[in-house]
Structures are given as structure tokens and as C-alpha cells.
Symmetry: C2
Subunit: 200 residues, 2 copies
């Protein structure tokens, strides 16, 4: 089985390819297609659910093929759940991971905090061109700190320490991240849903 995955984030492509290979599923990122691609849709949703849905249905309909899309982000308790759906554009519209991390550190520091409970959330839609398909979600709880550590992963991984660990997500080998992350859980559930539906 092959799944087309719509994302411009190479960190996500790497993780998703690795994770789904465990289930014998080959992941092709849209950029690997020979087709010219349509411009990416505006992610105008106010929730992960909506944004993942917007992306997946947009590409599925434009390409007339089943397409998987994911929206994910970090919810920080001390910031009332922000940056949330704005995780990848927290510091500015085209912010780098480093700029977003710096902004998060500044906001926590401004509150006099060196850490806060937080969770990473992932929503996946696997859309058919006819506006239906599969969905799944995953989360990992933990805390964010104000001292970045580690070189792995992407996004806020250098600041995020998952529950039960004393290392940041960026310090964990991909194999470990891919056994505990929000995205890994969502992918496991997607595969589980496919299996359940085949038995319906």
C-alpha cells in the first residue's frame, strides 16, 4: 500500500515514512510526484481538525487521488493553549523553528517561568476525492522548558520534554520519538482504523 502525504515539512516526511514503513506502507510526499503541484491552500482553520481537513481535501480534489495531510502543534498551559494552530508561524508568518522557539522562551520568561505543562497534538485526515475518508489523532503530554537541548526532530522538540523522560524530544533518537510522539500515535491509529474498517 502507498499513501500520498501532503506537507512542505521535510521533518514530518522523514518521521512519517519511517513510522509507516513499520506497517509495510510506503509514503510518497507530494513533491516526489512527477505532477506540477497546485499552490498550497491557506490554513485558515481555527482548529487542528479543520486545518488537517482543509489540506487533505484540497489536495485530494486537486489531484483526484487519496491524500493524507496532518496538522499538529504545541499547546502550552501557561499560555492558555497557545501557540496551538499557529505553532509553525508563532514568531511570524514564515518563521523558522529557531525563531518560534525563541518567541516561546521569551513569552515564558516574561511570565517569570522556566517551564510549563504542555502537550503536542496531531490530527491526520486521509481524504478521498469525494470528501470522505479516514481520520485519526494523537497527543503526547509533557512540559516545555526555556533552555533548548538536542539536535534531532524539528519544531519545538528542543524545548519539549515528554512525560516519563528527562530528555527533550530533540535529544531522543528518531526511533524513540517515533514510538511515543503525538504524530506516531495518530499514525498508529490511522492504521488501526484501516484494519477495523476492513473487518466491518
Amino acid at each position: 500500500m502507498r499513501i500520498l502525504f501532503a506537507t512542505g515539512n521535510q521533518g514530518k516526511v522523514k518521521e512519517v515514512k519511517e513510522k509507516l514503513s513499520e506497517f509495510g506502507i510506503e509514503v510518497i510526499s507530494l513533491k516526489e510526484l512527477p505532477h506540477p503541484l497546485p499552490p498550497p491552500p491557506a490554513e485558515t482553520g481555527s482548529t487542528f481538525c479543520e486545518n488537517a481537513h482543509i489540506k487533505a481535501t484540497y489536495y485530494a480534489q486537486k489531484l483526484n487521488l487519496p491524500v493524507m495531510a496532518e496538522d499538529s502543534g504545541l499547546e502550552v498551559e501557561a499560555l492558555g493553549g497557545r501557540p496551538g494552530v499557529f505553532s509553525s508561524r508563532f514568531a511570524s508568518e514564515n518563521a523558522t523553528d529557531e525563531e518560534n522557539n525563541r518567541k516561546l522562551i521569551e513569552e515564558l520568561s516574561a511570565l517569570g517561568l522556566t517551564e510549563s505543562p504542555a502537550r503536542y497534538v496531531s490530527f491526520i485526515f486521509f481524504a478521498f476525492p469525494f470528501q470522505g475518508g479516514l481520520w485519526s489523532e494523537g497527543e503526547v503530554r509533557g512540559k516545555v522548558v526555556t533552555t533548548p537541548r538536542g539536535e534531532g526532530g524539528f519544531g519545538y522538540d528542543p524545548l519539549f520534554i515528554p512525560e516519563g523522560f528527562n530528555k527533550t524530544m530533540a535529544e531522543l533518537p528518531l526511533q524513540v520519538k517515533n514510538s511515543i510522539s503525538h504524530r506516531a500515535k495518530a499514525l498508529e491509529r490511522l492504521v488501526k482504523a484501516i484494519k477495523e474498517i476492513k473487518c466491518l
Copy 2:
């Protein structure tokens, strides 16, 4: 195949039972279960996607069974897309259909309008207890008018005239509504998605 359907709306139960019987699927509303039911969840989402997801995952996890839930509503162009997710509580938290219809007529009349383009939208999540499952959506375009007509259906049906018709949704026999409505399209796509996934 049997599907548990979470809704307190008897109009929806009737339509969904009728529509899915076309595909040999038996629909059981939660109230028909012998179990005592948990209190309904707060529909705190800002989108149909989010609300359908909240309802379906809540019941699937509480009951530890696959559960289907639907969120739907009317988006009126002249009102900037309202009532949208507030369709069933437009006039007040526990408003009747009649009160909501009256509120819509008043708002359009206050703008000096006797009609406006509008669309009905339906989002369905069919959730497994592990936070994954199927989803589908449907819409029907048309217009709303300020003179209610017809006794069938529910919600804003007496004010909604689907494209290609000169009768309101409430004047159409259930069999016709169930061949063109937003909910009917979402249900058809849900069944189509199940079939596609079985072939994956």
C-alpha cells in the same frame, strides 16, 4: 452492519435510519441502547468538523464502542455565514426550530432582504474508541427566504429552497430530501469511504 448514532435530534434519527437502510445498514440511536447514557458533551467547537469530532470521540470513548455523530448547520451569505455552528441555538441556548426560524427571518428583514444565498453543511465522524475512524461531509446549496413553507424535515427546512427546486426543503417528501440533502451526501460518502478502505 449496525451503526450507533449519537444525537438527541429525532428528525436526524429518522433521516439517517431511512438513508442508511438503502445500503443495508441498520442505525441504532443511543437512546435505544439499554445502557444508561453519559450526559451529552458540550459542543464547544468553532467548526462543524470540531463539533462532530467532539461528539463522536466522546461517546465512542465513554461507551467503548464505535459511534457515529453528525454536526450540521446553515450558512447564510447575507449574514456572513451565520448561524453556522450555532444553527440549533441561534435564538437562544434551548431554542425551538420555530424560534430559530423567526430569528433568521428577523435578521434578514432588518437588512431589508426577503432572501439570501445559503448552504446547508453536514460533517460526520464515525469514531472508534481509540481516536480514529471515518469522516465525511456534504453540502447543499440554495437560498433562504423569509416566508416559511412546508411541514416536513426540521431545522431551517421551511425557509431553505435547494438549487434547482421551487419548493422549500420542508415541502419535499423525505425520499426527495434524502436524495439531495447535505446529510444524505455525507452519508453516501461515508458508505463510499468504507467501501474504498475495504479495497485498500
